[in-house]
Subunit: 195 residues, 2 copies
DNA sequence: GTTTGTCTACCTACTAGTAGGAAGGCGAAC
DNA sequence: GTTCGCCTTCCTACTAGTAGGTAGACAAAC
């Protein structure tokens, strides 16, 4: 329990923001070295190979995300609030530019050339997120706050795609507000579908 | 009017499929060299710098896309069919793996580290596509085949995000069928919103 | 006294890009 | 109708710089 982040955490932090910016091939050990003032060889001491570094990074990211989503499920009053908190999290990440893209979404776009150990973990994150969204939607239906016109699994996939697509449009068009303009109506529709 | 593709077209073709697979930093002149059996220096003769190659590639892609979308507008009977043809195009690209991702969507994810000349063109493609979708939705509303609960521009952004997000999920989960499973219901909803 | 973390110094392979020349097509001058 | 110069295309051979990764020394901490 140190007061400052450990070197390996600092390495992962920097690597993560570099991946968010430019993907797997968009950063090098030299970039990390420059950013935190440590020699390249020292990074290799903590993470012998690049694929391993990114695999550990994705593991950490997935665990953080799972923990965050799990606590959302436990703390937020209704499934509608849980969904709202989830997209609000990303809205703030994008609007204050602290993390304008999901690491796993970034890596997923490069799926075809990712080392296996990384690709498997990225795929797992997508499955986890889809499962979480499905479970939230399912609960919402049971509690009568959502009215879906598709099975919860399908609706969850649609929602996840919308979130990632909104991140991409937001980035492509350089308009942080576009994220919520796209995702907002999408979740509003789940609640208001009272035909 | 040659029977075979010119060298520069072959270079662009190969570069495009390499970008679709791994993005801007995911290919090199050596990769193209290997693929079409020409020396690296010869590629530099046609495209002196990498940024220029990709800029020309995006220009070509955008022009092809614009031409295709334009002819869709002119040929397909109703706006609903136009939309259906559009997503059917991508469905077949993804299912037969001929082009499992949009070049500009791929590049958009790397926006932050793209050379300006490329980034500007990618952004233009997003604007063009959004404008086309807006115009199709608008016509659909006027002809009474669509019933939107948002302004056409907003609905177009939502649809575009859905398409790109569906491509990403499809790739991340290695499930080509997921694309249509996500996008299909999304456009079905535009037609069936007869509350 | 071994483990941990960092360093300097190095390696090989690859990156984008350049210099300069050979081979051939083509139109004009003689 | 052949020679001339220009242009295009491709080549070999090279550059400077960067990629991921390694070997081994050193100091502090356990």
């Amino acid at each position: 329990m140190k007061s400052v982040a450990s070197t390996s955490d600092k390495i992962l932090d920097v690597a993560q923001s570099l991946i968010v910016a430019g993907g797997y091939n968009g950063f090098s050990y030299a970039d990390i070295s420059d950013a935190i003032g440590i020699r390249k060889a020292s990074i290799h001491h903590h993470f012998p190979a690049k694929a391993e570094l990114v695999a550990v990074l994705v593991d950490r990211y997935t665990m953080q995300a799972q923990a965050g989503l799990q606590s959302l499920r436990e703390q937020a009053a209704s499934p509608a609030d849980q969904l709202q908190f989830y997209i609000d999290y990303w809205r703030s990440c994008i609007e204050n530019a602290s993390q304008p893209f999901c690491v796993c979404a970034m890596l997923a776009s490069e799926m075809q050339m990712l080392p296996d150990e990384v690709a498997l973990r990225v795929r797992a994150h997508f499955r986890n997120l889809a499962a979480w969204l499905t479970s939230v939607l399912q609960s919402g239906v049971e509690q009568g706050v959502f009215r879906l016109d598709r099975r919860p699994e399908e609706q969850a996939q649609m929602l996840m795609a919308s979130v990632h697509g909104a991140m991409l449009s937001s980035r492509a068009l350089g308009d942080p507000g576009l994220f919520i303009a796209v995702v907002g109506p999408e979740i509003a529709r789940l609640r208001a579908s009272n035909c």
